[in-house]
């Protein structure tokens, strides 16, 4: 194909479109041809919107305005972000056939930028899972090894970018669902500050935690997509009424003197040796580049998973009440009474992981358990936030591993929910505190990538990008790519 996303970043594509070296239509056609050649194995997409994407591309070519950095460039949308008139299911049976009647805020913004949505990336059902194996539709493979999971829940988004099917994708992150699959696929994934990106049109899982963010091959690409999707939106009441900076502004600035904190708890039991070794080497590199690195403590880290699963499940059990078979999506054909419509639809329409979380949440909110579970978890959340606040009084950035292990085999953890939940131990606290967090490839072990996580102060994504860019330029790991069909 004419354009290879392994060797071209968004700037290159933008330049090629603007100078007329390629048309949006040709780029889009090439993208679909490449997806057709690779996705039978990778399984990153639930569905493609080829006709609509080509129409959009032709429209952009006709207008001829490529001034926006994303104009005419194809991308993948996670299947829980609404696209008007185009089936969007959250990878759930219960929404099979559902066509949203409006665009998500990020969809509108990307449409206005001239982006071309090629299709819906696979994910864990309703973003519940860490391996994309709970999808009702298919099992996505890790771009580096098809016997391994791509991570989740934004596993389709991450695999599609890592395998060069699209230059960027959007995902959502409630407890690590952008950063963990980015780490597992060796790419860059940003969970912005809570409130930075509007969630209007995102299928809600846990509303006090959910954020939308970009997955890309490089740091600059990531910042460019953030420039397009961030900003206040009156339709999301948690949306922050703050000016959006240029996220690329600090790229290339030295990190000399930057104060970086490394939490000792992020290297304790449960963290695989090869992950710890690689991440420590990455941190030593940041220090060699002039950053001031100190060890700190985030003492409540170990309670994050418990607090998260109670709060997330409680919010999710409430949010998912809307799926009742009445107004849209799947309705059980056997149901004879209204009660049966609810029960049969939900019983047949939801997968096991979604049911587990609805059950845990309903239990946590029930009269007998409320104080010991829901309220306790909300108090532990406060202590986790206080831990972060103390560290950020003296530091610019917190750095550590993104995940405790490297990608595991498909089918290995799916029947052990507890093990799967503990895999989120290093990403969850960031959501609980509403902070921005990014994962970038820190290098390889056994041919598989290892993620380095960078956590910033609220609304200071720019400093994260600055440090991530400096690290990326020193190593250029993005020049390595998985052996997929060329």
């Amino acid at each position: 194909m004419a354009f290879n996303y392994f060797d071209t970043n968004l700037d290159d594509l933008h330049e090629a479109l603007q100078s007329g070296k390629v048309t949006a239509e040709q780029l889009t056609k090439d993208t679909f041809a490449n997806i057709a050649a690779t996705d039978a194995d990778l399984q990153a997409f639930i569905r493609l919107h080829e006709e609509e994407a080509l129409a959009q591309a032709r429209d952009i070519d006709e207008k001829g305005d490529f001034s926006n950095p994303l104009a005419g460039i194809p991308m993948a949308m996670k299947d829980n972000i609404a696209t008007n008139g185009l089936e969007t299911t959250g990878a759930s049976h219960i929404l099979e056939g559902f066509k949203p009647v409006y665009d998500a805020a990020v969809t509108t913004k990307l449409n206005e930028a001239g982006a071309v949505v090629v299709g819906k990336a696979n994910m864990d059902e309703f973003a519940m899972g860490g391996s994309t194996e709970t999808s009702y539709y298919k099992k996505t493979k890790n771009a580096w090894d098809y016997t391994k999971v791509p991570g989740g829940s934004s596993g389709g988004s991450a695999a599609a970018v890592a395998a060069g099917q699209v230059p960027y994708a959007l995902g959502s992150d409630t407890g690590g669902s952008i950063r963990q699959p980015a780490a597992f696929n060796g790419i860059v994934g940003m969970k912005p500050t809570y409130g930075r990106v509007s969630r209007f049109g995102l299928f809600a899982m846990a509303s006090s935690l959910d954020q939308i963010g970009p997955l890309t091959r490089t740091v600059k690409d990531n910042a460019l997509v953030m420039n397009a999707i961030a900003g206040f939106d009156k339709r999301d009441s948690t949306s922050a009424e703050l000016e959006v900076p240029d996220f690329t502004a600090k790229l290339g600035e030295s990190i000399k003197g930057m104060k970086i904190a490394v939490p000792e708890e992020y290297f304790q039991e449960g963290i695989a040796t090869e992950v710890a070794t690689q991440v420590k080497a990455a941190i030593a590199q940041l220090e060699a580049m002039g950053a001031q690195v100190d060890q700190v403590s985030l003492p409540h880290t170990q309670y994050g998973v418990a607090a998260y699963y109670v709060l997330m499940a409680s919010e999710a059990s409430s949010n998912l009440q809307r799926y009742d078979g009445i107004r849209y999506g799947f309705r059980s054909p056997e149901a004879k009474s209204l009660e049966e419509v609810y029960k049969d639809t939900r019983t047949d329409g939801f997968g096991d992981e979604v049911k587990r979380r609805i059950m845990l949440g309903t239990y946590s909110l029930s009269a007998g358990a409320y104080d010991a579970f829901f309220k306790k978890a909300a108090q532990v959340r406060t202590l986790i936030i206080d831990d972060f606040n103390k560290v950020f009084e003296n530091y610019d950035l917190i750095v550590g591993p993104t995940t405790p292990t490297q990608p595991y085999g498909i089918g290995e953890e799916i029947d052990d929910p507890k093990a799967m939940y503990l895999g989120d131990v290093l990403t969850i606290p960031v959501n609980l505190a509403g902070l921005p967090g990014l994962s970038i490839n820190a290098g390889f072990n056994g041919g598989m990538p290892i993620g380095l996580q960078m956590i910033g102060k609220p609304f200071d994504e720019a400093t994260i990008y600055q440090a991530a860019y400096a690290f990326e330029q020193e190593n250029r790991f993005f020049e390595q790519h998985p052996a997929v069909a060329d």
Binding site: K99, M359, T362, A372, L432
Partner: protein, 100 residues
Amino acid sequence: MATSISKEEVAHVADLAKLSFSDQELEHFTGQLQEIVALCEKMAEVDTEGVKPTFSVTANVNHLREDVAEDWHQKKALLEQAPEEAADLIKVPAILNGED
């Protein structure tokens, strides 16, 4: 203090959540939920005496707007998404048992 969750409680919770399980599924879910509940009970170790709970991290108070209805002109599109419709309304089975 371990409040092990019983199969009966799980059945009750399932009913509240409008989910049904076979007896075998109920066994399976009870086992898994017991493990998860035990994991969550780890929080009991933390002294939270006097700690204010956090339910949201947004600094926003409330975005108030004029109480004016906006017409999104979507009635037809919305009705098309309903599993069953009749006479411009969403059709559902009888609410009272025995009626048709």
